[in-house]
Symmetry: D2
Subunit: 259 residues, 4 copies
């Protein structure tokens, strides 16, 4: 450990050519108004925030885009609402043109009730977008095989869910996240299902490189405070992963005094 | 929420007449040497640290006591190693005389294999010590009834375990911790079993007022970094508790753009 | 394994001088009427059923007692509703006189909201009752130390809870049940908290000798069918424990064809 | 509930035109020898057993096939070991010709380390096989979207995993299994990951129609006894599902005597 340790995790998050110090990506959905959103974004320390291309966000005079530019936060347009690879590719192309960024969060939802990603359409779209030079971050279920397929298709990051969008059920299957992390050579960003800070901490302890969340912050009773909680939670999990935890034991073990 | 929010939890931890800003109590056991301990204590931000009266800690020239005094950290002598109420009371009395503090962490271990507290001896000792004017923080199992009995006996704080000492198994029974918190009128400090930062975050989210841990930090591969992780984890959990999390749902729920 | 294996677990459940083939103990509380209770008891295969001494069960013409006698099911009077050792001892004495059995299920509830056992009063009463020649089955929390204390006090069986009475939360802390089983030399009967059949199966897999439950059956939508489910669940868990399960692995392992 | 209730679940398992009373499907892999396999199959009560087409099972004088025919157990050839849709389709065609059954368990493994199914190749193969008139039971991950896609492709049953093959990790994500069951209109058979009887019980309680397992039985210390455990566990879970369990509560609730 270097002598200048000051309680912050080492390294940066590199997604394609983009580099970030913060490991918390925020979604803007669910915020009651722009003032609350601004305070939450600031408290979170985020440097990358996702906006839905198919919603009203991008209308003339969109407050969200103005806000993000004013705060100096990078835009991550997403394709939420798309149901097919073709729709998602078209939406990504429009976003690149409109927003001037090669970053895209690829989301192809199979239906409205689960909002789960469609693995076949997602892999298809990922391949096309990567071939067109996009820096693709792909939302996926927590299947380790699909995560590898997305990486092979050229994704710059894979974003497995913890649980379905908006459920707040946290990470339902930590074993799958560990399997994904063990075999990934691109960043793994835990996306969807985060409900509270310990979920974010656990995601980082499992080896994720970052966490994306939206309504856990925007719909908390106090969004600004929850944003600060998530920021601290991600830091805690990253530090703990780096620090190397003690093993788990069945029987107790006494400590002993330092010499 | 006040306008001066800066990402820190509100309020102080009051144990009897003693007040602390930090909500992380550290045990010194298990540290490889005093230098590592010092760096870990500093990184943790702790203001209260427990030392075992029945170990070599208090011998002439005890480095640990000198270290804690130099760092300005309050001493919390503990009675670890005691098997009966009588032993624990005597040990506490010696500690008060030797260290000049009315604080005592009461521990009566039933046996060496589980290091679990003996509830009957603990309640007995707690009563005696409270009657003698000690500020008693009592280590207990996670039984909600025993926690209430300790409070009735005059304890200034109750310290339920997450799992047996040194196991790193985290909080095995969150339901019991919630039951204890729901009925306690003194601070609840999660003690024993913490293995990694998300355990500490969860403890605070469940409503605990503070967390005590030792070997999770001192025996981590990088104790200083794990101490920083625990500090952030406690902050994250406290903020999340204050912020009010979203409810859990079975089906997904889409977010929507801010207006 | 003997050649006459027929899908039934080996051995009998011996509690003091009493022996049972069934490992499912049923409580009568919560049944809508005696007819439903009879069908549920029959479907469960139980040979031992607990009745509350402090309720109306024992009034003249008590249908429950008549029913149990008719079905040839042994009576296990319990002290539910008692708050002190003295009350519990008196209730047990009355039960012995009225029902002609030395069996008693000792329950001392600390309060109505949790119905959790009071460990101090329970150990006190257990000592007195064992000294008076009762065959004591003691309801306890899942604290391994209290379980040992009850055994030392002379109990013929210890009955740790899975979770509070009537919650249906199952076994909240399997680790504690394993610790209790590992050190007990009297039968361990999982009591309270069972909600469904897999809870009973798990209890037996953890090494419990039997399971006690009431409202999981009596308040199920179809009590008779749930009683049959519990009977099968206990058998499944007992057989699985005896059979020796495969270890858990992180990575997959293919099977291979038999030779 | 009908008057002739005798502790057995109602109804039959219908897969395409095939009907079964047993809800336990056994895989033959991992058995030490044919004698042990025979005893385990008999104890399990299975009526449907899967054999690997790509292994030595089908050589001249295959003991496994002879055994299954002698025991009157239906054959379910599987495509384990196949890596592509094309391989799986060819293997299924060979199986149909060799064994004279339209039943096929479709498995396309993505790699040897996880043995996880490849969702894209599996859906592709399922479509082809269904079009050719096979009765397809498709092994899949626990993704609810992929399960629906397989049903749309014409599968007669979907077989989500609990956890990777041979791990014995049980059902890692009960929420996903519940989502699959809630939307399926074909039978759901829990496949892979079962380690012990309570896993099988839970699978049925979550609403699965049957359970498939291999090494949990064949590699248990006593395969015959574990087979009996699994049989009882499946029965327990099915009955409990039908019986309608009590809800879970945070606070305790006393039972009351029957009237």
């Amino acid at each position: 450990m270097t002598g200048d340790f000051a309680g912050e995790p080492a390294g940066v998050l590199a997604i394609g050519d983009h580099k970030f110090t913060s490991r918390l990506v925020i979604g803007t959905g669910g915020a009651a108004n722009l003032d609350i959103l601004e305070r939450a974004l600031t408290a979170s320390g985020t440097e990358l925030t996702t906006v839905a291309m198919r919603r009203a966000d991008l209308g003339s005079g969109s407050g969200v885009l103005d806000l993000l530019r004013r705060l100096g936060i990078a835009l991550l347009p997403n394709t939420a609402g798309c149901r097919t690879a073709a729709e998602a590719v078209l939406t990504a192309q429009l976003a690149r043109e409109a927003l001037g960024t090669d970053l895209v969060k690829l989301e192809v939802h199979a239906d409205d009730r689960t909002l789960l990603p469609d693995p076949i359409e997602t892999v298809d779209a990922a391949q096309q977008l990567a071939d067109e030079g996009f820096t693709v971050l792909a939302y996926t279920n927590d299947d380790p095989v699909t995560a590898l397929r997305l990486e092979e298709a050229g994704c710059a990051a894979v974003m497995p869910l913890g649980s379905p969008i908006g459920t707040g059920l946290g990470i339902r299957n930590p074993h799958n996240i560990e399997l994904i992390v063990a075999r990934a050579s691109v960043p793994v960003i835990l996306d969807a299902g985060i409900g509270t800070a310990s979920d974010a901490t656990l995601a980082m302890e499992l080896g994720c490189d970052a966490v994306l969340l939206s309504t856990a912050v925007t719909r908390a009773q106090d969004p600004e405070r929850m944003a600060a909680a998530m920021r601290a939670g991600v830091t805690a999990g990253r530090l703990a992963r780096e620090a190397g935890r003690i093993p788990q034991r069945f029987w107790a073990q006494a400590s002993s005094p330092p010499r």
